[in-house]
Structure formats: C-alpha cells, structure tokens
Amino acid sequence: MVKKSSWMLVILISIVAVSFLAAGCAKKSVVKEEVAGRPAPAVEAKKAEPPPRPVAPPKAEPAPPPPPAPAPKVEAAPPKAVAAIDLAALRIQFAFDDYSLSSQAKENLEKLAGWMKEAGTAKIQVEGHACEIGTNEYNLALGERRANSAKTYLEGLGIGSGRLSTISYGEERPLDPGHTEASRSKNRRAEFVMTK
C-alpha cells in the first residue's frame, strides 16, 4: 500500500512538474493572446464607413402616384403667409398592437393635409412609435405600420408621396417614460416632423 502510493506520488509529481513547466510557457502566451484579442473599445473605423446619407431619405416608392391636380397651382403661387401649425398637437394615438386609424386620428390627418396644401412645399416625416410592451424588434415593425397608415391616409387626401417619408422608432423614443398603462397608451402614436 505504502509502496503503491509512493509510486503514485512519483507519477503525480512528474505530471505536475511537466504540466507546470509546459503550462507555464503555454499559459503565459495564452493569457497574452487573449489580451491582444480584446475588442478595441470605442474605436471608430471611420474610413470603413460609407458616407452618411440624409437623415430623412424620401421613401422610395415604386411608382409614386401623380400629385393631385391643384397641388402644382399652389406650389406655383407666390409665397403667401401660411398659418403656423402645431405639429405636436396633431400627433395621433393607436390602440394596443394596432395600426388602424381612429376617427380622431383621421380628423388630425385631415387638418394636417389641409395645412400641407396651404403650405405648398413643406415636407413631413411621419414617425411611428410603440409602447414598451413586447420586444422592440416587433415594435419597430409595428411603429412602421403606424407611420405607413398615416402616410397612406395623407396620400389619399391628395398629398404627394414625394412630400412624405416615414421612420419607425419602435419603443425607443417614448413620449412618456412611465411604465403605467396611461404612459404606455400615450406612447402608441405617430408624430409629424417637418423635413427639408
């Protein structure tokens, strides 16, 4: 028994000695390798990036419908004083997981369309938003649906699609940062922003 265990000991000692000898070198390089392999934090590879594109590119519609007949007349008219508009007041709300337009939403869009006809060349970006419920990937899609609902309705009222663009922020830009149902309900919305 004693003999056997001392034999074991000899083997163990040799394993450990060899392991440590080799591990010492190997591990050293391994640890150093990992250090070198760290991601370079916050290093922007500016050269590799494509040139920035405009913040709000007009949505590429396959076949934009011809602008409504009266529109060119208005645009051609000499600049006249157009009443200022509170775009924030025209924001429209949606039901949970829904992108259909309420009668209130349609009313606001009609006001907006009326003003856009007056204003002649003003361009509007429709921002679609969602509440915090659900994963943002789905909410980005939902926000886009909401923005498109508003855009389609405005087009139906005679606003040329070239004057309208959309973007979805999903749940990323809440109007109300709270987590109550009242806050969430405010965040299910589309907003209108003037673009160049």
Partner: protein, 455 residues
C-alpha cells in the same frame, strides 16, 4: 506559434499516457436525470501578493471560483470552517516555496484530506497566487478527496488584471475534468446599454464583470448578434438616421454598413455555420424575413405575407428558422424551413409572444410572452409542446438568449426599476442580476464561441 502547438501536443500525449485512468472518470453525470449535486470544497486561495482594493487577491480568486461553480448548478459548495484552510491548510502547504527551500510544485505531498472528507467533500480545490515584477501567477489544483489524488493542476501567468480570466479558465478545467463537458466560464455577453445617454453596445464577462464599451455611434444601437466564431457583431443602428444593419469586427473595430434599404433593416440572426444572416427588411412594403451573406450580398426573400414577420432565429442544424408573425392577428411564434417553405404556428396561448431564441441544444425555444400576469420568459419544445413560464414577479422580462451549453438564459427584466440584465438556469431558478450601471440595459446576447478545454 507552431512551436507552441507542438509543445502543447507533446504535453497532452504525456498527460494522456500518464493520467488517463484519472481523467477518464466522469464524476458528475450531468445528463442523468438522477444526477445529484457534487460536493466540492474550495479552500481560500493563498495569496502571496500585496492587497489590491480591500480584498486579498486570494480571497477574490476563491470568490470568483465559488460564484462560477455555484452558477453551473452542478455543485454543492462546501465552505471550510476557520480551522482548516489556515494552519494545516492543503492550499498553504502544497505550492508555496518556504524560505530557503526551492522545491518543485508537487501534488498532495503535504495535503491532509481527512478534514475535507469529514465535511463531506468529494473534491477539493486549492490555489495560490503570487505577484512579482508586474506578473501575476496563479496555481490551482483539483483533487479527488476520496482517492487522495490530484485530478488536474494548472499554473497561469499574466497581468494583475487577468485574475478573473485565470479563475474562469480553471473553473472550465474543473467542469471538463468532472463532467466531460465544456463549461462557459470564459464566455462573454454583448448587450445594449444607455449608460452614456445613447444606446451603445457593451461587452461583459458572462458573470457581469469587466464591462467594456464597443460602439460609439451616439445614436440608438439595437439587436447585437455575434458570429459563431466570435469575431464579428451584426446590429441595427440609427447612426445615419434610418435603422440600418452594421457589421463590426470585434478585434479591429472595423465597421461597415451591410443593409441600408428604405424602411427597416433589423433583427439579424447568424446561421449556425456563420455563412448567412437572417434579417427583417420592409423595403417591399411590409416587414418580411430575408437571408443574405454577411457582407450584404446574395439577398433572398424568405417570407411573403402582408402581416409583420420579424425576429428570426435559426435551429442549430441551420435547417429551420423560428420567427414572430402577426399573421394570426397578434404576434405569435412560427417556424418554417430556412427556404420559407412549410410555415407552422407554434404558440397558441397568449396574445403577445415575441423574441424567440432557439437553444443551441436544439430541442427548445425560449421567448418572451404576456403570460403569467405580465411579460415573462417562456420556454417550449421546438414543436410548440410543453410550454412553461420561467419567470415570475420580475417586472417586464424580455429578450432571452441562451448560454453556449443550453443550460442557462440571460434576459432583461425591470425587477429593480430600469431594465437590467439577469441570468438564470433553464428551469427558471438561480436568478442572478448581472448589470448595475446607470440607464437601461437590454438586448443581451450570449456569445456562443468559447475557449475549449482539452483542444
């Protein structure tokens, strides 16, 4: 480099030849349904180094090791009472050269296993650290207490900041030696944090340590997913105004925009072989799932439905894709072949099921759902059967992502207010909060690539 490889393989041969009867034993059969937690003792690592912070390096090392082994769920940890681990400590005795004595590192020479056996330990970990000339050395050993034999012993040399990395590496050695499977203690998690006001990508160790910034877009970055080889991350960013997809090399920081179609360029997912990306584009009028090469070429449309289709996740064999669709009236999980054929609905309970994540082990899909009285993480088989709610009373739980071994999940939850990253096992227990920065932390993605033991 070649020289190193050669050296290591010679060493491996030697080790195999000499130690085969020891290392071949599986101590913990983690695949057996009747597996019981394995009692392991961790002696406080002896520290020959100066103090750093208010904790000795040795204490920090044993704390990190205990935390790792505890998180694995395989072990019953035995903490030594004051008497052992000090005077006649196995840790103190076996590796530190005493003054005037220059002996080689040996195993078990002066180790008294009896006190550990009396505590019920079947395995024992000892270790020692020293810090000299700017170089940190850690020696650690795993013993079979019953046989009084060393199972594995390692020495690591690095910088002082490498301490947790050394410990994680030895923890993986322990898992491999006792279970025959690869651990995940050297893996990292990428996530989105708003700590600086913007939403940027950050990396951290799987246990929440060593948080590092990745991007500096000063914008909204979302949905980071790292390639199977661990070198590249694909993500959505509003950097140029529109939600576009970017591919970034995690080593060099080189970045390029790979999808910038009008509308959404979101929810990317790497195929298991890293050769294709599934993603969502709305360029054709509504959100559809496509696949493409990671450089943006070879775009193929996969879904074709007027409803929302988003958030694809691949099966481990790359043959199928699970995704979210609103085609049934509200968001539900569906599965299809990777070419878009044979779409089947998987979830029928609840009216808001999103963010599917397919386990790397194949048979299960995690997702988030409005079930169980709020937003919770759920789990089901990949055919939709055996639906279970894993979380409860943690606020809004969202965005589950699997550990490389398919035994754990990370996710975001509002349990403590703002969304934070949490870790739990796939049974929904052993919940641990990982992030403590200011601002929200979301979109955790557990990087699958790991440094494997014995290769």
């Amino acid at each position: 480099m070649k020289k190193h490889k050669l050296f290591v393989s010679v060493l491996l041969l030697l080790t195999l030849f000499l130690a085969h009867p020891l290392s071949a034993k599986i101590y913990i059969d983690i695949r057996s349904p009747s597996f019981r937690k394995f009692p392991i003792a961790i002696s406080t690592f002896q520290s020959l180094a100066p103090t750093r912070g208010d904790m000795q390096l040795g204490e920090r090392a044993s704390e990190i090791l205990k935390n790792d082994l505890d998180l694995s769920g395989f072990f019953f940890l035995i903490t030594p009472p004051g008497s052992i681990g000090k005077e006649s400590s196995p840790a103190a005795g076996d590796s530190s050269p005493k003054p005037g004595e220059d002996r080689p590192a040996t195993a078990g020479e002066s180790l008294d296993f009896q006190p550990w056996a009396n505590l019920g330990a079947e395995a024992l970990v000892t270790g020692a650290l020293s810090f000299r000339d700017g170089s940190l050395t850690m020696e650690a050993r795993l013993y079979d207490v019953v046989k009084k034999e060393m199972i594995v012993g390692k020495r690591y040399i690095g910088e002082i900041t490498d301490l947790s990395r050394m410990v994680h590496r030895f923890a993986d050695e322990i898992i491999f030696a006792l279970t025959g499977e690869q651990g995940f203690f050297q893996t990292k998690i990428i996530f989105v944090s708003q700590v600086g006001g913007f939403k940027e990508l950050y990396l951290m160790d799987f246990d929440g340590r060593n948080v590092l910034p990745v991007t500096n877009h000063k914008s909204i970055c979302l949905s980071p997913r790292v390639s199977p080889d661990g070198t590249q991350v694909v993500f959505t960013s509003y950097k140029f105004g529109n939600p576009d997809l970017f591919l970034r090399n995690l080593r060099t920081g080189e970045e390029k925009r790979i999808a910038s179609y009008p509308g959404l360029n979101i929810s990317p997912a790497w195929s298991p072989d890293g050769k294709r990306l599934a993603l969502t584009l709305s360029k054709d009028g509504n959100p559809e799932i496509y696949t493409m090469n990671p450089d943006g070429t070879g775009l193929t449309r996969v879904t074709n439905h007027p409803a929302i289709d988003v958030s694809p996740t691949w099966s481990p064999d790359g043959q199928r894709i699970a995704f979210v669709s609103s085609r049934g009236g509200n968001p539900q999980i569906y599965v299809m072949q990777a070419n878009g054929k044979n779409v089947q609905r998987l979830t029928f309970e609840g009216n808001y099921n999103t963010h599917p994540s397919w386990s790397p082990r194949g048979e299960r899909i995690a997702f988030d759902a409005t079930m169980g009285g709020g937003r919770n993480i759920c789990l089901m088989n990949s055919d939709g059967s055996d639906l279970r709610i894993l979380t409860a009373n943690m606020g809004q739980c969202e965005m589950p992502s699997w550990s490389p071994d398919g035994r754990h999940l990370v996710f975001s939850a509002t349990r403590d207010g703002e969304p934070r990253i949490f870790l739990m096992n796939a049974e929904g227990t052993r919940i641990k909060r990982l992030t403590f920065q200011k601002g929200s932390d979301t979109y955790p993605y557990w990087i699958r690539r790991r440094r494997e033991i014995g290769r």
